[in-house]
């Protein structure tokens, strides 16, 4: 049963990676990249259960936090062209 879930997650990963490659705008790519991160978390969790070692969940949790920070950083860069964007500096 875990193997079936893993097959489903891998199939979903393939579909989403196709969107990363095709995606006309950069936002399509960021969205699909974020989905790749989410699917990787699910994959790691299911893999831990498949091997009978659910300790892999710590890795999944860490990956989730990194995924959030990375996606927000990429979005901020493409919105302001700068990671150290300061609103006050912009108005002055």
């Amino acid at each position: 049963m875990f193997a079936a879930a893993m097959l489903a997650v891998i199939a979903a990963l393939v579909l989403v990676v196709v969107r990363v490659i095709k995606g006309p705008t950069v936002f399509d790519r960021v969205l699909a990249g974020n989905s790749v991160g989410t699917l990787a978390i699910i994959l790691v969790a299911v893999l831990g259960f498949l091997n009978g070692r659910p300790e892999f969940l710590d890795v999944a949790l860490t990956y989730g936090v990194l995924n959030l920070i990375g996606t927000l950083a990429i979005l901020k860069f493409f919105r302001h062209g700068d990671l150290a964007y300061d609103e006050q500096e912009d108005e002055a």
Partner: protein
């Protein structure tokens, strides 16, 4: 115990189905804003049902707590990322595809005038 096993299998299969449905939506839908909707299916219903199934397999242990924390992380980060993405896309001038655009696109691709049959269907 057989009841718990069957329940967890059903939840895992339902979650897998929703994950595939969300991925197909990310691939097939017409623009960024609709794809966002499909991507959120993966991390709400898909991951939710699948992790609920895993929790039933794990029983009342530390593993269940960790799965709960991952779900909590999805619960809070999903809306944050979707909102930031929509705002960045709007700010960059990406226009949502409206029904009129869709009708133009369909009638441009199919010249047999079949676009009228899709009337009233949202993209």
């Amino acid at each position: 115990m057989i009841f718990l096993d069957v329940a967890s299998w059903v939840l895992i299969l339902v979650g897998s189905g929703f994950i595939i449905a969300g991925a197909v939506g990310v691939l097939r839908l017409p623009d960024v804003y609709t794809r966002m909707h499909a991507a959120s299916v993966i991390e709400t219903v898909g991951a939710g049902a699948l992790f609920a199934g895993l929790m039933l397999q794990a029983g009342l242990t530390q593993v269940t707590l960790k799965l709960l924390f991952i779900l909590l992380l999805f619960f809070f980060t999903g809306p944050v990322i979707t909102h930031a993405l929509a705002q960045a896309a709007l700010h960059a001038g990406v226009k949502p595809e409206l029904e009129d655009d869709r009708r133009d696109r369909l009638s441009a691709s199919k010249t047999d005038g079949n676009a009228g049959s899709d009337e009233g269907r949202l993209p």
